[in-house]
Symmetry: C2
Subunit: 430 residues, 2 copies
């Protein structure tokens, strides 16, 4: 299964060999990951600020630098999510120039995975796969199921058995076949490598992975455009497989090369949960990545042996950035901080990113006045179990003014007694 | 509490008296609802296709025809949600030219209420309210809580005691005060009318209601712009308070008046749940609206005595449209149909709209070739309880190829036995 294309092709990261466009996950010679490379000079004059502004308000405005087969007519308005100035969160964590890139409201399934899946499925169709699928920690499952449904392609999705209920339901509702595996993501992923070969399925993050991963570049393109065509000083990115952080950097480099933004140093900061922190540990100890057995509430980041982990950790240090990991308690606080200050409800992965950002400022790794973007990659409604027990629902009162007056006095009294607890986002008795 | 403004002001729907800009819910003389009126001729030349295209990719591009106080700098990128061509859903329900306006991914809280709240809170700040709030069936609660958090304003929110868990959590997480009322929405709403006066709070859908409601026009503006500056033949809109459907029409009329679109007849179709169908019954019997006691899983539409119900029902008939209501079972099927065909996961209200649309085509109320837009107003992750028991999660298998092969055979065998059930979106055994 292959197709020819003059604009881009696969290239081995290690040995440099080129492969045209085929459904393979790694270099058959040296087993290294493959990367999509473009004839960037040919794109000059076609990928400009003006041509992009004339495009639709979604990721397809950047189509010229995505591996999209000739003739593909994208009609799903994925991405172009808000970049919001986060003054109130900034004040709380000591940041004067902070932005949130909010993929918690990404179309269609509320995570950045919608970007990668739409690029992968464009290729799945071109390669002629009649069944698509993935190994997933949840968000990818949702996105593959939804987008395959819209295209009328069969989807078969493999997940760790302990996935959150909302993510399971949000896969089944699209009519996808969901297969639960008794093991963690790394077990699921290994199984999928075998399945892709045996069944000739298009698994977006296995044999379509090089195409899939390119979709993440759109986060970087959007950040630069939404900042008024300039690069930030710092980017804080959650890390599961380690691909997103790399691809944002690739996007920035392409923009610099083509003259859409001015070149400047950008530091990349990676965020993980302490319960699954192979990349963050590698960065902090400046050593080879050692796989871990995941144990964290941030299940969407629970990849113990991330495919792009080694490259990501090197890249982070190369840019002068850093990585951090936070405990499950801090993850929940991070979710609450972001909601209470910016009105953005994120899933556990976003709690990781927010809490890590707070620590980076606290430790002086990021200077307060620098322009910093934190990437929120998924929606809080997908992981409500992680925080539900932090909130107590108060008793119901009768719809009478006297009852309301009395109850309000009770509430205000209670909040006066424990003002610090309230501020810290602790348990609320309502 | 009032402010002066040359661009717009309050006017009584009944007696025509004008009130400037004040925080009041109805006409103090005749108790009728108030409406925002504009000097439309003054807007000519300022509200053009070009000026709109030059604006941001959110509702603020239509600011000139929203009641936004001078000097207000909107910085929250609300709205401009996808309008997607729905070919697969269309095929299933007999529609050849169907679009879905998808507010299930609206920023920041995944419902169309984000539009109205942002306009209301701009005015709440102008009026100087230090506490804001609302009576809500859920989506409004989420949006007020989130947007008030971002503005750093205190929010106090009243809801019926039986609200869905996800909507309660998605209010508390922003740090809002949530007060549960032992009663239905109409009880809550009456109580709020008293509270607004006694406490001098800015309740978005009570004393800020005329401003709030105008935010819904942006759905109409966006539909017209996203169709390439033309009006559809039909719009299918869910009805709770009855405001959204009216305001979409108001938006279309303003666009026609200012010459942004060509005038043409547009039929409006209202969708309700049978368990709370005061407006739909009024339309179908061409009679006065009679309040109902709600009993439906579509809790976000469960308003038994809708404020704008009488006007909405008259308006629907005036346009040559119709209204329908569907049972709870059909609502669930509607959710599944939309998810399985278009990859859009909507809440119960969207299930209502989808199922009603299907019936309108089946009954010949809408012709197959006409351009029809159905408005999906909220996200499925907010009402997972309504459909969770329709799906059975299969057993977990070991991460071995042999186990996978055997399990897949089982699944494929099972789906061959019950093909009709699978197609009808029934219970799946996975």
């Amino acid at each position: 299964m292959e197709y020819s294309c003059s604009a881009y092709e696969l290239k081995c990261n290690e040995c440099g060999k080129r492969f045209g466009n085929r459904a393979i996950s790694g270099c058959p010679d040296c087993f290294a990951p493959l990367e999509i490379v473009y004839d960037l000079d040919a794109a000059r004059g076609e990928f400009t600020r003006e041509s992009i502004a004339a495009g639709p308000a979604n990721i397809w405005r950047y189509k010229r630098l995505l591996p999209i087969p000739d003739g593909f007519q994208p009609d799903l308005p994925v991405g172009f999510t808000p970049l919001v100035k986060a003054n109130r969160l900034g004040k709380r964590i000591g940041a004067n120039n902070l932005y949130v890139k909010n993929d918690a409201v990404c179309f269609p399934t509320l995570s950045f995975k919608d970007r990668v899946v739409s690029v992968a499925l464009a290729n799945a169709q071109k390669f002629g796969f009649t069944t698509v699928g993935c190994s997933s920690t949840g968000n990818l499952a949702n996105s593959v199921a939804a987008q395959a449904a819209r295209l009328g392609i069969k989807a078969s999705i493999l997940v760790p058995a302990d996935l959150e209920p909302a993510k399971i339901l949000n896969t089944l509702v699209y009519g996808a076949q969901l297969i639960r595996i008794d093991g963690n993501y790394d077990h699921v992923n290994r199984l999928c490598t075998l399945i892709a070969d045996e069944y000739n399925w298009g698994l977006v993050n296995v044999n379509l992975r090089p195409y899939y991963a390119e979709g993440s570049k759109t986060v970087g393109f959007e950040i630069a455009e939404q900042l008024g065509w300039r690069l930030p000083d710092n980017v804080v990115v959650p890390m599961a497989g380690g691909s997103l952080i790399r691809k944002i950097r690739k996007a920035f480099k392409e923009l610099v090369y083509l003259g859409l933004v001015e070149d400047k140093p950008v530091k990349f900061f990676g965020a993980q949960a302490t319960g699954c922190s192979p990349i963050s540990v590698a960065v902090k100890t400046d050593s080879e990545m050692i796989p871990q057995k995941p144990n964290t509430i941030a299940r969407s980041l629970a990849i113990g042996n991330p495919a792009d982990g080694p490259i990501a950790s090197k890249m982070i240090l190369e840019t002068g950035g850093w990585a951090e990991d936070v405990s499950d308690v801090e993850i929940v606080s991070g979710i609450q901080e972001l909601a209470e200050t910016e009105g953005i409800f994120t899933e556990t992965a976003g709690g990781v990113t927010t809490a890590v950002a707070a620590r980076l400022y606290a430790h002086g790794r990021i200077s307060p006045d620098e322009t910093t973007v934190i990437c929120i990659t998924g929606n809080g409604l997908k992981t409500t179990d992680a925080i539900a027990d932090r909130y107590e629902v108060g008793r119901a009162i009768r719809p009478r003014m006297a009852d309301f007056d009395a109850y309000l006095k009770e509430l205000e009294g209670a909040s006066e007694v424990e003002p610090e607890l309230a501020l810290a986002g602790g348990v609320r008795e309502l």
